[in-house]
Symmetry: C2
Subunit: 146 residues, 2 copies
DNA sequence: ATCTAAATGCAAATGGTTTGCATTTGCAAA
DNA sequence: TTTGCAAATGCAAACCATTTGCATTTAGAT
């Protein structure tokens, strides 16, 4: 399948050894197409009969992050770290505060704003995190009922 | 001093009892005018001969947050929570990835963008978190030297 | 002044994450 | 292919910010 190729290729390019753990974890993140909690990844591995120690999952994700294959993010009201496959370009998240559903937002209104800020602050701005939150369509309906 | 008044007044309005802990912690946050880590607050209290148990500091901050007197935020690469006095309006942060200095950005480019997104996604958007990061003027200079 | 719910101190628990160390494994060089 | 070794892994214990249970104290209403 296509994923397999993408996994191994990107691992090889990164200089990391291509191990069972790394292939499996990267594959899961590519497939998920969503930020995932470490525990979630760990359990999904187990379901697929792939037994990898939880601390190895953490270490693997750390390696992958160092090589920019995945990105670590933290959302509000959730003290766990989430990881997602590092798509080209960048994305933002719209999170439902009720059911925690995450919607990915592709376009970003901040490019020109960063340039303005750089002039004002003399910072060299290299990136940003933007999380929007609110109530998704479903949860709006449920709340009406209360 | 002006702070004292502001502290007590806002505590009274919130419906919380005005205790030594709450006055002291709110005062520190008002004075700091910057997000602070819990441990930082705790140590600053101790320096000022005000002995408050660490768990009380946590509980106090939680109460203050529930009454919207302070705001809890988490920055990247820092798994501690930060708290800041809740100014009117809202602010964003520009964080130096090297020295961790935080600059507060007053204006926000996201108002109209949220309306657009609401139409696209059917979410009812109630807020957002925006953190920008990069290298501050000082750290840019230091890096040149390397 | 009295009473009661709320606030606090203290110590122990929690839970996500990290680490030390012994063992295994990928992969480059022979 | 085989060998050698640094890198990766498993396991259990440590870490550390945060939370909690419970006994005691306190703010503020009556």
């Amino acid at each position: 399948m296509k994923n397999q190729m993408e996994c191994e290729e990107r691992l090889k390019k990164s200089g990391l050894k291509t191990t069972k753990s790394r292939k499996a974890i990267l594959d899961i993140l590519i497939r998920s197409n969503q930020p995932m909690a470490v525990e979630q990844i760990f359990l999904l591995l187990k379901e697929n009969q792939i037994n990898i120690n939880l601390s190895t999952v953490y270490r693997t994700l750390e390696s992958l992050e160092n090589k920019d294959l995945v990105t670590k993010i933290s959302l509000m009201d959730d003290d766990r770290m989430l990881f997602e496959y590092n798509q080209l370009g960048h994305r933002h998240y719209l999170v439902c505060v009720t059911c925690k559903k995450i919607i990915t937002v592709q376009n970003c209104p901040l490019g020109s704003y960063e340039r303005v800020l750089e002039n004002e602050t003399r910072f060299n701005i290299i990136g940003h995190k933007l999380y929007l939150y609110g109530y998704c369509e479903n949860c709006q309906r449920s709340n009406d009922g209360i």
